[in-house]
């Protein structure tokens, strides 16, 4: 019985390990866990309705720097508090053919949105005013310090009333 029990425990451990491996593989470069990221069109509407700035994360499945930003940058508790409190959080899968409805009424795919915003690669992060105007844009891996720096910059610009560039997807 002990031998059979040991084998059973090993089998369960192996199944657990394989499941965890599969989960980590399919989870690569999804929005970071524990954050409430929503669709781009939904986020623009929410930002305007609640008069809150919008943080847009362009990611891609298979993107290592997205994964690193998730596991290092967004895993920081201070980052989580700042970004959850300060922004409407939006995630765009830059290779998706799902359609979005822009505020103009135009329906484009998530990938077309990347084309319109000329995203060279992933990840790309946009900070937007509640009305959609761009405040700041950052490319590539972002660690916790950089994410907190950008948050301070954007919050200060909000309080100072600095106008951003029009965002024209």
């Amino acid at each position: 019985m002990d031998f059979a029990g040991t084998r059973l425990r090993r089998l369960f451990a192996a199944i657990f390990a394989l499941t965890a491996l599969a989960a980590s593989a399919t989870a690569l470069a999804e929005p970071p866990a524990g954050y409430n990221f929503i669709r781009y069109d939904e986020g623009l509407r929410k930002g305007q309705a609640e008069n809150r700035p919008i943080f847009v994360y362009f990611g891609r499945y298979g993107c290592g720097f997205c994964d690193k930003t998730n596991k290092v940058g967004f895993a920081d508790p201070a980052v989580k508090t700042a970004y959850t409190d300060h922004y409407v959080l939006v995630y765009v899968n830059s290779e998706s053919m799902d359609r979005l409805t822009l505020p103009s009424g135009e329906r484009i795919t998530e990938m077309q949105l990347g084309e319109r915003l000329n995203t060279l690669g992933t990840p790309v992060f946009f900070f937007l005013h509640p009305d959609g105007r761009q405040i700041h844009k950052a490319y590539g891996y972002q660690g916790p310090e950089k994410l907190l720096d950008m948050d301070r910059l954007v919050q200060n610009s909000q309080h100072a009333g600095i106008n951003g560039q029009p965002q024209q997807p």
């Binding site: 499945y61 298979g62 290592g64 103009s104 000329n118």
Partner: protein, 390 residues
């Protein structure tokens, strides 16, 4: 105006003039910045041509919602496109068109299913429905009296690609029962399908990110019910931890060239921090095996990302690819032609356009090139058509 000349000389002159002639037409334009025109479909199958007509399908929002339209242009009169004919009566998007036997198969997505019809000399036939569930993307190919359609629909938390055929018997259309092209357990995110007929086989392509990054796959068989095991088309460049799961391959398009050679093109993320490049691969056995991958972008285009590749052939010596990039600052349409196994240098197709995007392309059997794209002019959308004796 051609002067009166001896018949042989006049014929030669007409031929020479025609050979050098290219035409640029505006098919439709919006006069309100709140309205939009779109050329968007899986495999970029929004234009098709035979030796008598060219058909163009697009979607626009002027009806107050997304509606799809078809316009036909006779090629023998030199006139422009006829009036736009609306496809469907509800929200209709992702229209596609294919030319076979002097007729056009036309399909679109409406109310979560695929609607298919056939136009014979401008007369529309009955509409049949395929698919069941939230269809997201649609593509088309055809052979003789049959159209082959493939679409991606939501399946659980992912997507599945399904394919079905529509056969014409006289004026009637009959739809087959759709089949899944690959295992939903192994491939959980099947999107962006392409289809073709080559060497008496049906070929379906798609991409899937179940392995951590989007990879391009093909399956083929004597019929949809006899599809073989999947083969991977793109070469996966294994990357380091920093680069993630490897290069992705997305937005594939298919054409069939001389000797039934399949040509696949797609956007590839390999080794480039300047975004996607357009790559290609060939199959001489109806999609069973595929060649090495070949980059289509020349050195002038390496510093900018490329978008929305489309490919077409006349089934003979003409194979051409189009895409959009901004290597000269503005969004413009670029093209390359296949010479044997070598792609030509890239050349501009949209001329002086300041903001052109979403190109699509087709050939007539005689090698006349037909292309269309969207231009933004003063905030309005304009659907442009270009033809040239290639």
């Amino acid at each position: 105006m051609i002067p009166r000349l001896p018949i042989a000389t006049a014929c030669a002159l007409v031929w020479a003039t025609a050979a050098a002639e290219s035409q640029l037409l505006t098919v439709t334009t919006t006069d309100n910045q709140a309205d939009f025109i779109q050329l968007e479909s899986s495999g970029r199958k929004n234009i098709a041509a035979d030796d008598k007509q060219v058909g163009l399908v697009w979607e626009e929002t002027r009806a107050g919602h997304t509606a799809s339209y078809l316009a036909l242009r006779p090629l023998d009169t030199g006139q422009g496109f006829g009036p736009a004919q609306r496809l469907g009566s509800h929200d209709a998007f992702n229209p596609v068109i294919a030319s076979c036997g002097g007729k056009f198969f036309v399909a679109w997505i409406e109310q979560d299913s695929v609607s298919v019809t056939r136009y014979d000399g401008g007369t529309r036939g009955p509409v049949v429905q395929l698919g069941n569930g939230p269809v997201n993307e649609l593509t088309i190919g055809c052979r003789d009296d049959s159209a082959l359609l493939a679409w991606s629909r939501r399946a659980g938390k992912g997507y599945a690609v399904e394919a079905g055929a529509v056969r014409a018997n006289g004026a009637d259309l009959t739809a087959t029962v759709p089949v899944a092209v690959a295992s939903g357990e192994t491939y959980q995110f099947q999107t962006n399908p392409g289809v073709a007929f080559a060497r008496d086989r049906v070929v379906v392509t798609w991409h899937d990110r179940s392995g951590g990054t989007n990879l391009l796959y093909a399956t083929s068989g004597a019929s949809l019910e006899q599809l073989d095991k999947q083969v991977q088309i793109n070469e996966l460049i294994q990357k380091s931890y920093e680069w993630g799961s490897g290069s992705s391959a997305v937005r594939n398009a298919l054409a069939v060239g001389r000797k039934q050679r399949l040509v696949a093109v797609w956007l590839d993320k390999r080794a480039s921090r300047a975004g996607y490049k357009v790559y290609s691969a060939f199959s001489d056995d109806g999609g069973v095996s595929w060649s090495d991958n070949y980059n289509i972008i020349d050195e002038w285009g390496t510093i900018v990302p490329q978008w929305t590749p489309a490919v077409a052939s006349n089934g003979g010596d003409k194979v051409r690819v189009v895409w959009m990039d901004a290597r000269e600052d503005n969004n413009t349409i670029w093209t390359a032609q296949l010479n044997g196994m070598t792609w030509s240098a890239n050349s501009n197709l949209s001329g002086d356009a300041e903001d052109a995007h979403s190109p699509v392309i087709a050939y007539s059997p005689d090698g006349t090139l037909h292309a269309a794209w969207i231009e933004k002019v003063n905030g309005n959308s304009r659907l442009q058509y270009f033809s040239d004796k290639d």
